[in-house]
């Protein structure tokens, strides 16, 4: 688009400003992970590596990370399956109640987390009589993760059309073969992006988790909430946060490569 130089400059400055606002708090977290003051007063008087050492030896923190990864992975797999099925149904068929279903998929994320949380808590404990455990968290997480997979897959299906699949079945391929060799490869990057978002959503969820976690099951956000206001533990939480941000670059970068590669092919 042809824009005047000043318009470009203004947009460039606005973009830079927004990025600065987005990253300043993260930088504060990074610096505070070296802040020798436990109360994290600003500016830091001196820097220390003590918290980093302690964080990597904190059994509670490492266990919480493990639990979160485990919950996140299973919830993501369930969400991938359910989300893909539902996006095929809604994209490839016209039927009565289609709009209601697309609303149903969005609801678990649109309605307040606390509502989903107490509804599921009430449902598991009072109605079903099931004790809360790690599996109740997985079920709850999978439910609200469906929507992100659904969004990614249905957007891809809309773009794909069905001609390649029809060609495949004209050439004699059965449904499974067509899905495996034609449809799935075209969906792969959308599934990856959706799965990544679903995992991120589950990994960071606190409200629903609070209400569905069994006794003694500590996901990372629960660990953080429990320890954030403890002066002895707060710096460790800060270190974990920094590590998470740094580690997250890898999957995001891979997702970008996967989807970027496709763009040049088209």
């Amino acid at each position: 688009m042809r824009l005047t130089k000043s318009a470009r400059a203004i947009l460039g400055i606005a973009t830079t400003l927004v990025l600065v606002i987005v990253y300043v708090p993260l930088l504060v977290v990074l610096i505070n992970s070296f802040n020798s003051s436990r109360t994290m007063s600003w500016p830091p008087r001196s820097l220390t590596l003590e918290w980093w050492g302690k964080a990597f030896r904190s059994a509670g923190a490492l266990e919480a990370v493990g639990t979160s990864v485990y919950v996140g992975l299973i919830a993501t797999v369930v969400a991938l399956i359910l989300g893909t099925l539902i996006s095929f149904a809604l994209q490839r068929f016209k039927f009565f109640g289609r709009d209601a279903i697309s609303l149903l998929v969005i609801l678990p994320i649109a309605l307040p987390g606390i509502l989903t949380g107490i509804a599921l808590n009430n449902f598991f404990r009072t109605i079903l009589g099931v004790p809360l455990s790690i599996w109740t968290i997985v079920i709850a997480h999978a439910t609200f993760c469906v929507v992100v997979v659904f969004n990614n897959v249905i957007a891809r299906l809309r773009r794909l059309g069905t001609s390649l699949e029809e060609a495949s079945s004209d050439l004699g391929a059965g449904m499974w073969t067509t899905f495996r060799l034609v449809t799935f490869p075209q969906l792969r990057s959308a599934l990856f992006a959706g799965g990544l978002l679903a995992f991120a959503l589950s990994f960071d969820e606190i409200i629903v988790t609070t209400f569905t976690a069994g006794q003694g099951v500590t996901t990372l956000p629960i660990f953080i909430l429990d320890n954030m206001f403890r002066p002895t533990q707060a710096p460790i939480v800060t270190v974990i946060a920094v590590v998470m941000i740094i580690v997250s670059i890898v999957p995001i970068w891979v997702a970008q490569r996967v989807s970027g590669g496709e763009k040049t092919l088209r």
Binding site: A89, I101, L104, V105, T126
Partner: protein, 308 residues
Amino acid sequence: MTRDDSSSRLGAAAVLPPRDTAARRASVVLSRHPRLRLGLLLSAPLTWLIVVYIVALATLLITAFWTVDSYTGDVRVDWTFKNIVTVVTGSLYHAVTLRTVGVAALVTIIDVALALPIAFFMAKIASTRWQRFLTIAVLMPLWASYLVKVYAWRSILSGDGLLSWILQPFGLESPGFGLPATVITLAYLWLPYVILPIYAGLERVPNSLLEASGDLGAKSWSTIRHIVMPMIWPAVIAGSIFSFCLSLGDYITVNIVGGANQMLGNLVYTNVGTANNLPLAAAISLIPIVIIFGYLMAVRRTGALDNL
């Protein structure tokens, strides 16, 4: 049908007739019966969503019409409108609802205002290389823990925090903990969720259209107003759904940076926890449900729900 001998032999060599396996037969049945296909596709996800979510939600909301036994503290099936009346007429609930909706609306406006220029820059001005970099830059904060970000704002806004430190030389001070801090923190938290759909919406606006508009003599501003904005409106609404709905239900942020202020989520939380009054909590949670349903219904016509 008569066939040329050679071509039939050639055909046989090129495409073997499919073996008659169970998978093949299933495939034939499925391709002949689209309704069956639809049923199979929908059965698992619908069962999950209805059994786990709708039933759970319905059994919670129905308790809004029940009571709590004042002796045992147990929920008793005793049909009454008492809780609904309390919520509809209580001045506490009016004030908190107004405050919550106000905060959510303000957060949404701030986020859209911040997201539009950066999304436009990413989609239409930045080179492919920069586009990739900026997308990563916008996505990355999503991986920083929600709680840690809220806590970071708490430390920034606190009396001896970064903001006071920056503002001190100018004779100003940090707003401290309260509603402004809540709005700032929530706007910060949901910003990436607003940027991404708007960016995706802008990516779908063809450059040729913008050039055509320019060729026909439109200035940048009028191209943006008359061509770009109408096209990305559904995406903007989609972004606003995130920031509005997520703000409306939040109670942790306001606990950490909001001082003594309460939002609807806090009222629900208190009634589930310390007050042990599930029916009243269910009645209160009908407020955000009604608001969110109203909002979703109002924006459904724009096609925003396809842009989430």
